[in-house]
Symmetry: C2
Subunit: 142 residues, 2 copies
């Protein structure tokens, strides 16, 4: 019989987070001691590991719910799990692409910093200079 603290350490999760997962229905309500403390079995440890691993891969709790549901009904098609993973991959690719653009802009910004006073700071200037950005939203009077 495993305590909540043991699960927490084993999976790198905070105790409160495990209770939160229980609250939102990702983890089952476990058995309790006479004193009311939660006691888990190995199945719950596995389930929590699954959740944490999926979270680390960026899956939302809703997506994880779907995956766990699939996992609980092994007769269903693998295609659903595949689709969820592909959706996730697409999102990750988009995030990487956006961050790459950011990185370049930040690097350029920093490189141009003269080290002088804030009044001449390129970082602030770039942020202030929105001439390029505004064109994206310009739908007024055009």
């Amino acid at each position: 019989m495993l305590t909540i603290g043991y699960l927490a350490k084993k999976t790198g999760t905070k105790v409160q987070t495990i209770r939160y997962y229980e609250q939102v229905g990702l983890m089952p309500e476990p058995g309790r001691t006479d004193g009311g403390q939660r006691r888990y079995g190995d199945a719950e440890l596995d389930r929590l590991s699954f959740i944490r691993h999926a979270r680390q891969l960026g899956f939302s709790l809703d997506a994880i719910r779907e995956l766990l549901d699939l996992s609980d009904h092994p007769a269903r098609s693998c295609e659903e799990a595949d689709a969820i993973a592909r959706r996730q991959l697409k999102q990750v690719e988009q995030r990487v692409a956006r961050l790459e653009v950011l990185r370049l802009e930040l690097e350029r910004m920093i490189e141009e910093c003269s080290g002088g006073r804030a009044a001449d700071c390129r970082v602030l200037e770039v942020l202030r200079d929105h001439s390029e950005c505004l064109t994206d939203h310009e739908g007024i009077g055009a």
Copy 2:
């Protein structure tokens, strides 16, 4: 005199978000019409553009507060703005690196999907298989 809706369209911000920025002190309390509607000047449009641009670059509202503060006191050193930007860059780089790992793992996972039943699904299996992950947190009995 500019309306809140005009600022919203010009900067691609929702009206509510502008009011939220005012609430949390990022935007100043503007003048009002006799009827109580907000009216802005060009300075506020610039300030909002600055905020949105910085948000798009991933800066937190707290970081933007610092930057605006610097911007409001141009005699202070540029180094502070530079430091904030560098901090931001580091975070972006870390996020990119982590996402790259994720992307590879997701791709591998999907590639191995047999297209069979969920019981044999590699996606679920990979998520379930935590043997590698656990070693990261293993501080019990080791």
